[in-house]
């Protein structure tokens, strides 16, 4: 419980829940059957958050190779610069339809920035920008993975707690039953 989730509020809230449940288990003032229900609720919340984080992770993991591909082609264009050669490339016009392009020596590329905006950059600037995007994406992925690990720790703690409460309840009932039979036999 030492690491805080980077997204802040929802995490700390959930941790407190785990903590308070642990205290509840120790005191065991509430009937265990209700207690398991109480502990299961945050577990479901954890699962929801986990799904969200996993979706974000998938998105980032798809984005990173895309940026790498962009960097690759910009680097190729840059390498051609100054050699006087043209870059001959087959490109997809529409799905399954290809055409051939002759890319003349050029100092700039256009980057699609999203929101219907495309901007022309020099090759150096473009690769710097792409590199920055790549670094950002990698950094966010790392944070995301740390968050996921943290969340999974909370899930494990909760699962162990549920198992313990459940076992404790079974044990209690069994010993009650034993005493009851002993009393009946005597």
């Amino acid at each position: 419980m030492h690491i805080a989730g980077s997204t802040g509020e929802p995490f700390s809230n959930l941790i407190n829940n785990v903590r308070s449940i642990r205290i509840m288990v120790c005191k065991s003032a509430i009937h265990p059957r209700f207690l398991t229900k109480d502990i299961c609720r945050p577990l479901q919340q954890y699962k929801v958050v986990e799904m969200k984080l996993l979706a974000q992770q998938r998105e980032l993991q798809a984005k990173i190779p895309d940026i790498e591909k962009c960097l690759d082609i910009v680097a190729t264009l840059q390498a051609k610069k100054g050699t006087g050669e043209e870059l001959l490339a087959d490109f997809e016009v529409s799905e399954g339809i290809y055409s051939r392009a002759r890319i003349e020596e050029s100092d700039s590329v256009c980057l699609w920035l999203g929101a219907n905006v495309m901007l022309e950059y020099t090759s150096d600037e473009a690769s710097a920008l792409l590199q920055k995007n790549l670094d950002n994406a990698t950094a966010s992925l790392e944070v995301l993975i740390a968050d996921l690990e943290f969340l999974r720790d909370q899930v494990t703690i909760t699962q162990v707690t549920i198992a313990r409460v459940y076992n404790w309840d079974v044990h209690q009932r069994r010993s009650k039953q034993v005493t009851a039979t002993v009393v009946k036999d005597s």
């Binding site: 591909k69 962009c70 690759d72 082609i73 190729t76 870059l87 001959l88 490339a89 087959d90 490109f91 997809e92 290809y98 392009a101 690990e149 999974r152 720790d153 494990t156 703690i157 699962q159 162990v160 198992a163 313990r164 076992n167 404790w168 079974v170 044990h171």
Partner: protein, 127 residues
Amino acid sequence: MQQQGAGSEMEVTWEDQQNINKFGRLNNRYHELEDQIKIAKEANENLEDASNELILTDEDSVRFQIGEVFVHMANDEVESKIDQMKEMTTKNLEKMEEEKASLLSQMAELKKILYGKFKDSINLEED
């Protein structure tokens, strides 16, 4: 990772819980790594196939995919590119295999500790 059986009297300390968490993390990472290794191996095989095809081809230039387009490139240029990529994936693969070995040994260590304390009250095996 769930407890079962009659271990209800067992005290689970914060340290035990941390060990269980750590085991869970390692196990998750292990599965992730397995997937990544599988993908890397496939990539390596594909590169191997590509360089073999390149040796067999009669043409002077082939189309090499960079980004979204297929660039016309001389064979020797493509060959060195593929070699470079192969080297990278191989290195990457080695690193991952190393991490996997270290994960396994750490997991074995934790298993020893946790089974030592909880006996059959805890189950750390895959289904």
